[in-house]
């Protein structure tokens, strides 16, 4: 078993266990902070998939931006959310969670079957790309290629995303302002 494979199993183990903990814990604060760990482990998985630029973007935007936003929302919505959690603690909860567990488990079975049947490593275009040396090698530098592609081939989606981001920011600022007294 190669070192890369050991790293892969390690990262995916951390990602899945921390996601499971975030899903199962009753404590909202713990859930948010464990989600940090999941995101870092996912960034590690992106590095193992030879996408280092995406991994850095993941760390900067998700961990630096989104999680800080979530923590802000949690701090601002405050004590009430904690009270809800305290009330739920005494309840008999496994029965209420049963439909959700069933749904997730059935989805898991179906999708695992699809993945195993699809056999992604023997797809036509994947074999073609391996045969024509189109696969990214571990020592290749992809960042300049990504930059050039972003400004030429994918310029239209890039602009569309930027407009959408502007709209979302204006919308968020509009939604979160104080309403005028009537």
């Amino acid at each position: 078993m190669s070192f890369v494979r050991v790293l892969f199993y390690f990262m995916s183990f951390i990602a899945i266990v921390s996601a499971l903990y975030a899903a199962s814990t009753k404590n909202l604060v713990r859930s948010i902070f464990v989600f940090f760990v999941t995101l870092f482990a996912l960034a590690g998985l992106y590095v193992l998939a030879l996408a280092d630029f995406v991994a850095v973007t993941q760390v900067v935007i998700y961990v630096g931006g989104i999680l800080v936003l979530i923590i802000f929302a949690f701090m601002l919505s405050g004590k009430e959310t904690l009270n809800v959690i305290q009330q739920q603690k005494g309840k008999f909860f496994s029965m209420a969670k049963l439909p959700a567990i069933l749904l997730a488990a059935l989805f898991f079975i179906v999708m695992i079957n699809v993945v195993l049947k699809a056999d992604a490593d023997n797809l036509g275009w994947v074999k073609d790309s391996i045969a024509t040396n189109n696969t990214i090698t571990p020592n290749a530098v992809m960042i300049d290629n990504i930059g050039v592609n972003l400004m030429t081939r994918y310029l239209l989606p890039f602009e569309a995303i930027s407009i959408l981001l502007l709209m979302a920011l204006v919308g968020a600022a509009h939604l979160s302002r104080k309403e005028a007294k009537i």
Partner: protein, 101 residues
Amino acid sequence: MITLTDFLVVSVMLFCIGLYMIVSKRNAIQILIGIELILNAAILNLVAFGKHDSVNNSGQIFALFAIVLAAATTAVALAIILNVYRKYKTIDPGKINNLKD
């Protein structure tokens, strides 16, 4: 060497955990975390397949777009959650039962 199927299995697991969170949680912020998990599972797939496209880098570039879209979604969703909290004093989606007016 890590095969594509390994990445797909990990992303399926993350997707199912996210789905479970969305369905079972009674707290809007945790539901948002579930949505983020599902988005991350999708991004993992994009990146894993993008490994086999070194000329166009389509997988990695669309992974970047997906990350930016997730940031925009979260900003708007959190603004909505804050507004809902201000109006109802709770963020349990099951207890929010009337529209404006």
